[in-house]
Amino acid sequence: MASTDGTLALGTGTEAPARPMGVFARPRNTPGWRGWVTTVDHKRIGIMYGAAALFFFLIGGVEALLIRAQLAAPEGKLLSADLYNQVFTMHGTTMIFLAVMPIGAAFMNYLIPLQIGARDVAFPRLNALSFWSFLFGGVILNSAWFLGGGADGGWFNYAPNNGVIFSPSHGIDFWNLGLIFTGISSLVGAVNLITTVLNMRAPGMTLMRMPVFTWMSFVTQFLLLFAIPVLTSAQFLLLFDRLFGARFFDVSMGADPLLWEHLFWIFGHPEVYIMILPAFGIVSEIIPVFARKPIFGYPFMVFSGIAIGFMGWGVWAHHMFASGIGPISVAAFSVATMFIAVPTGVKILNWLATMWGGKLKFTAPMLYSIGLVTMFTIGGLSGVTHAVSPADTQQTDTYYIVAHFHYVLFGGALFGFVGGWYFWWPKVFGFKLSDYHGRINFWILLVGFNLTFGPMHILGLQGMPRRTYTYRTGYGFNFWNLVATIGAFMIAASFLYFFWIIWRSYRQSKVDAVALSGDPWDSRSLEWMVPCPTPAHNFDVTPTVHALDDFWHRKYDEDENGRLVRIAATEDVSQDGSATDVHLPSPSYWPFVLAAGFPFVAWGLIFNMWLCVIGGIAIVSALWGWVVEPSVDPEGEHGPHDDHHPTADDSPAEAEAGASEEAALVD
């Protein structure tokens, strides 16, 4: 619904506009917190995504520490069985939907427009809506802690265990509604970023010249676009079951609980690629910079990402080998699961080949990237063992699985993200994070991580079940559980250290302010062409792209012996951010107001329908305000040199003009 509304907004404001209706005056260049609430700038939205995701990451981290403290010794007394169920469910849900996915979204929001040479995303206001509905979805989910307890059925909440009979608290309702609203966020974001990548590329930026990060994000957005609605439809069914007495998962009436498993994993398997592909993209940017070599086999990188995107749809039932789906299904999904390891392996080999023979510089971002390559390989190998269905029947629902997915999602996705933070921090905030401390931090995290999750392989193979809230002393689980708990607190310490590094590096940059060049790492893609931090308008002049790694080729060439020679100083080929009078998308209150209605609808559905009225009024009025508000403020300040701006509605005349240009090109 929301995505249609932008289409009704008025034109460019060059003609006498009708007065925008609404209760709010249009925000203009507002300083302070209102500037953040009303912003439609993809960079600020990216920063807010990252900050909010880190906040939820801390919540999920505390939940993880509670789990590990409970399991540190046999017969743990810290959490009751019920509370333990809630804590591990909320830990998984929070980390997946409110930490890893939005951290990926933070990178994508910030970097995609810069990497393709655009001013902003295709729909800046929808971008803001995407962030706010993620944030309020997270608020709904976590408000469960204060309103009767969290969801308690595991992050997948299998039927019929998710029904009112087996889970009588409202936890799963919060889970349902919170994730439906973060699903809206993902859907809106996917529509927006797919359109951005397809439509907003700078001249000459063909698809096969896009950086690998943009490519992987593009694939991720398609996965989101098609996977999220499947989860949403499953959650609607569950919602109606729990709140309105429908019979979708009522086994006593002949319902089939496998329906939930299928719908959930048709979403759930693409979801794991949604979480990992952005991190793959990040290390594909970092490794070439610090190996000082172009990415090895760029087309292979791109097409293996696309292949993962397609094959990711054909492997979901490997999560269900123990559910009795029959030998033919099991065989088919086993084979498909083994196959999907191939494009992933291609990527690993390409990263290795990129580093092979390169002048490696082991900076913090590079270390984290190598951490991803190695840790993900371990997780990938244990993943292939799940494809062997006889072995999987033994491993399923044990700590072996927990070890596997933490190696791919923590050792994979999160290592890549931390590397990305070190790499792009100067671009976003204008100061570098301390590389020295970053390297120390890397080793602490690496050791802590392996201490935590390495032993879980052993525990799993010894038969320790997942989701068990305690164990007895004679089972032989004591030692490795204690080691894992020590490792978990090491991880916690390493993240506290990371926050200290941020604070210290910030202080350092204030004390002796060194003018930071726009290109501190001597890198390859377009975002390094603009100053650090990125100016509000991104590019002074939209760059025209001639090659993959265009910025690199502006700085370097090869001599006749194939050796690298510098052909231009970085400053000469960079932009200084001095452009003025660039027309930017106008801020708006409506995305925030619209999303702020969501929690009231959710709480209303659970507790009292009258709250829905409040939320509904906010949503409907925001939609209406949004529709009649021109996407570009006709009274906003802009100079005569009003540059190509992305938010303007393309009127048919203009679209035709575009089409005739295309025709002219064909001629």
Binding site: S3, G11, P203, V628, P652, A657
Partner: protein
């Protein structure tokens, strides 16, 4: 791979002759030549396919699990195919009037735009009324949303489609209101076209639902 000629350098039809430089102009060129809004709607509709896909699968799985005891009829045993065929026909014809509305605004005929939008909304309304009547008949026969998996799936799927049609009607009526206040101009006729894309999609989904849910036993 050929180099793309910088699209900004090429003067677009409608650009004033004295466009100062190559990086802009009145033509807000997109890489594909399709406007962001239209492309965004297509992408969104792609996502909707999967949403309905989940619900249609649910119905197909459950359609014979109609309950136990006396009230154990499946939806198929209660359908009035003739009645639903007529209301389906009305809904499909509304796609025609939608096209006429788009054509009207492209020609700049605002009166005809509003007439055809109103006709489209009216036909959508007739369809929804038919659905409400049908639901009421089933309820009177004792089959509600909470009766059994089959009936939950039936009401869930068709109700979800009904909500989509209703949202479409609201969009159509909003277009009429916006047109009356002069906010839909000939040169942004595309906004009507995009509402039309949504409307046609809802119709196409109904063709699938009507076939899968009503016609195929």
């Amino acid at each position: 791979m050929t180099d793309i000629v910088d699209p900004h350098v090429v003067a677009a039809a409608g650009d004033p002759p004295d466009v100062p430089d190559a990086t802009h102009g009145l033509s807000h060129v997109t890489s594909t030549g399709i406007s962001n809004e239209k492309l965004g709607m297509w992408v969104f509709l792609g996502s909707e396919c999967l949403l309905f896909g989940g619900l249609i699968s649910t119905f197909l799985l459950y359609k014979n699990r109609a309950g136990y005891g006396d009230l154990n009829e499946t939806p198929h045993e209660l359908y009035d195919i003739l009645f639903t065929s007529i209301s389906s026909f009305v809904l499909l014809m509304s796609s025609l009037t939608m096209v006429l509305a788009v054509s009207a605004i492209q020609r700049g005929d605002h009166r005809a735009l509003r007439t055809w939008l109103a006709a489209t909304a009216l036909m959508g309304g007739i369809f929804i009324s038919g659905q409400v009547y049908e639901f009421k008949e089933f309820l009177n026969a004792g089959y509600g949303f909470t009766h059994s998996p089959a009936w939950s799936a039936f009401f869930g799927l068709t109700g979800f489609h009904g909500v989509h049609v209703t949202l479409g009607i609201i969009m159509l009526l909003s277009c009429i209101l916006l047109s009356l206040s002069g906010r839909i101009r000939q040169d942004n006729a595309e906004s009507v076209e995009i509402v039309g894309l949504y409307w046609h999609f809802v119709d196409v989904v109904w063709i699938i639902i009507f076939t899968v849910v009503y016609l195929i036993k």
